[in-house]
Amino acid sequence: MNEREIRLALFCAIEGGSNFWGREISQYGVHEIHQRLAARSYDPIKSAAIFEKFSQHSATETFTAIAAANGQFFIPGDLNWPTKLDNLAVPPIGIIVRGNAEALNAPSLAIVGTRNPTPYGVRIAGDFAAGFVDRGWDIVSGGAYGIDTAAHRGALIAEGRTIAVIASGIDIAYPAGNSRLFEQICESGAIVSEVAPGSPALPFRFLTRNRLIAALSQATLVVEAAFRSGSLRTARDAAELLRPVMAIPGAISSPSSEGCHRLIGERAAEIVTSVADCYELISSL
């Protein structure tokens, strides 16, 4: 078995973002973990689901499924492997990429925010995406409705590249209403998934996905986020990676800017009020 097949087996069995498995892999290496899993030398109750997935895994089937979705499986050391991901505490075992994998190594800005934006947020997200594309950057976001969609659109309108990191398998367009947007993204940019083909977009996968958005980009910009929002998690992930986090202020009467104001208030994010501001802030780093 070569490393690619071993990593694929682990990729399908172990969900990304788990601290325990991250430690195990970094300590013993993938070959060792693969053998231990085959020998079932882990707690049988805690790891029951992983054992089951591991034993049912078929490399040919998974490779066929990835190829059917026009995807490619990348592992560390591959030519287009985004080395930015190695800074993560728990780097992914592998990623599935659909579209132009070269885009993953270009300088990029993550634009994230609420799925319920105001027209103000949509405009800002689009403007910043277009502004950074004009300066030769790519735009990373999560492919969700709202700010994410506005950011991807803004980049595409400015004829730039954009990367969507999705929480479901590469063969599932989630949200389905954005499936045409995903097609457009793949023409120049890429779609990235950290879960096995066929996995649905479950709530916990969004959180593990958010760390990839933060890791794939040089800086993170939060456009609009409510008081409780997944985008704040992305901002925290970016801060843990020591990457700049920025937030756009809104009206204090607007609930969808509450999260941004919190980030700014806690000094967790820099306040930015124009594309030039934002560009200056991160290009000086």
């Binding site: 799925r115 027209p119 103000y120 409705y145 309108i157 009206a251 609930p255």
Partner: protein
């Protein structure tokens, strides 16, 4: 004489046709036959007519009575034929002369004691009668006000059948009806002065009234959305006589003139509840097609509170009248077109629980619920809404303000001036309001300034605006220009129009 003839009018929507009522009394087994496609209410008229005649001291012909309503193919409905049938029977049995009833349209329902009761649709019926050459009409007393709007017709009215019979035999009129042609004044009950603060929403209401632009108010409960919407009629200019007649005609057939005086110059406001059905909103009915809320709001305001709570597709039924200003209803009894040129005002909470504003901390809705809530207002409908305005809760300084806000009268003056400006500009055109400028004219004769157009084209390029949206913004900018006194919309006007349409500050 065994034959009696009278005339009445059958209404089909707003279109009336003259109906000839012929009664023949022949020897034979006593019977009563009513011919000419009567509906249930009309078929029952036999018993009402019989009781009324007997209770007024008249004889009921115990012979073979045939009543024919012609044209026989035209379906007829309602109780308005009672009086004309009763009189035709009286003429047929020789109790009354034929003379007084030639070229006279007769409308009225009979009570069992002979009292003449009000009927629906007197105004449109009499308009039809007048057009077919009838110069005199007998109407119930309650309907005399709307009948009097036809100043070229001789209108007679009687409290009951006995008085009518006495007039026909002796020419004596018991009581001349007092005709009041006074124009009802705008009622002083509601006024914009009552609304505290809300500068933005007030301004949006003023713009809506000036240019006929549809409006969506979004805000938490208690912020004053309903208050603002219900005061929009007070800043609309008074209806012209022609408009007032149109409004009265529609209200007359729906039987709604009890709440509205016949020659009211006040623009109507109709506020159907959000549980209203599609038929209630646009009109319909299987036997008798009645106008819906959107027609009753003709030349006025159609206000729908809690719009996202409306059943699926109900609001979308408004799309056709919003475009064309009329609504055509098709049932098996035929097609009917009602006028429906109204100002649509929708109000909505920001989310199902209504608390998604400010810090949004009290809101218990999930992100999905919040997104879906306003999404219930369909895209095509929202595209026809010119302004989206956030109504914020009233602040404490606004609440503590002792001085009242600007009164409706002052705002109305500005609205009237703005409307006069646009009407003068469109003197040779087929439209009068800014919201009605056709799209091709917006690109030719009614273009905003160059810089303003460039701004809009940039927005179009960035896909922030659709082509329809661009046209809406220019129409709105014309109204803002009229209100500020600019002869052509400037960049500033267009930007303000754009922010009103988007519902956000630029």
């Amino acid at each position: 004489m065994t034959l009696g003839k009278t005339q009445s009018i059958a209404l089909n929507g707003l279109v009336g046709s003259l109906v000839e009522i012929e009664v023949d009394i022949a020897d034979g087994i006593p019977s009563f036959a009513l011919l000419g496609l009567p509906d249930a209410a009309l078929s029952e008229s036999r018993d009402r007519v019989r009781a009324a005649l007997i209770n007024c001291g008249q004889l009921w012909p115990n012979r073979k009575v045939t009543v024919s309503l012609s044209p026989a193919w035209l379906p007829k409905s309602g109780s308005a034929f009672d009086l004309s049938i009763a009189l035709a029977i009286e003429i047929a049995q020789g109790a009354l002369p034929q003379g007084p009833f030639t070229a006279t349209a007769i409308l009225g329902e009979l009570a069992l004691d002979g009292k003449i009761r009000a009927v629906r649709g007197v105004l449109p019926a009499l308009i039809a009668a007048y057009k077919s050459g009838v110069k005199r009409a007998i109407v119930p007393q309650e309907n005399v006000e709307e009948a009097a709007l036809l100043t070229h017709m001789e209108i007679l009215t009687f409290a009951n059948l006995s008085q009518l019979i006495r007039w026909a035999t002796t020419g004596e009129i018991v009581q001349a009806p007092a005709l009041s042609m006074e124009v009802a004044e705008l009622s002083a009950e509601v006024d914009f002065a009552d609304v505290a603060g809300q500068q933005r929403a007030r301004f949006a209401a003023e713009v809506a009234a000036s240019g006929g632009h549809h409006l969506l108010l979004i805000g938490p409960p208690g912020a004053g959305k309903t208050m603002i919407a219900s005061r929009i009629p007070t800043i609309l200019p008074p209806l012209t006589l022609e408009q007032a007649l149109e409004v009265t005609a529609v209200h007359s057939i729906s039987g709604g003139l009890t709440q509205r005086s016949a020659l009211s110059r006040i623009a109507p406001i109709i506020a159907p509840h959000h549980t209203a059905s599609r038929v209630a909103l646009v009109g319909g009915g299987s036997q008798v097609i009645k106008p819906g809320s959107c027609s009753l709001a003709h030349h006025g305001v159609l206000f729908i509170d809690e719009a996202p709570e409306c059943a699926l597709g109900v609001l979308d039924a408004l799309r056709q009248p919003l475009e064309s200003g009329t609504i055509t209803i098709t049932r098996n009894v035929g097609n009917i077109t009602f006028p429906a040129r109204f100002l649509l005002v929708l109000a909505a909470n920001p989310c199902p629980c209504g608390k998604y504003s400010g810090k949004g901390l009290g809101c218990s809705c999930t992100s999905l619920q919040v997104r879906r809530y306003l999404g219930k207002l369909s895209g095509p409908l929202m595209d026809r809404i010119d302004m989206r305005v956030q109504v914020e809760p009233v602040g404490r300084t606004e609440m503590a303000e002792i001085e009242l806000g600007e009164a409706s009268g002052d705002i109305r003056e500005r609205v009237v001036t703005a409307r006069a400006t646009s009407a003068a500009r469109f003197a040779g055109e087929s439209w009068t309001l800014n919201s009605e400028i056709p799209a091709r004219e917006l690109r030719n004769r009614y273009r905003p300034e160059r810089s303003a157009l460039n701004f809009l084209h940039d927005e179009l390029d960035r896909e922030q605006l659709t082509a329809r949206g661009l046209h809406k913004v220019i129409r709105l900018a014309w109204t803002l220009a009229d209100l500020t006194g600019h002869t052509t919309p400037t960049l500033d006007d267009v930007k303000r129009a754009y922010s009103l349409r988007e519902g956000a500050e630029l």
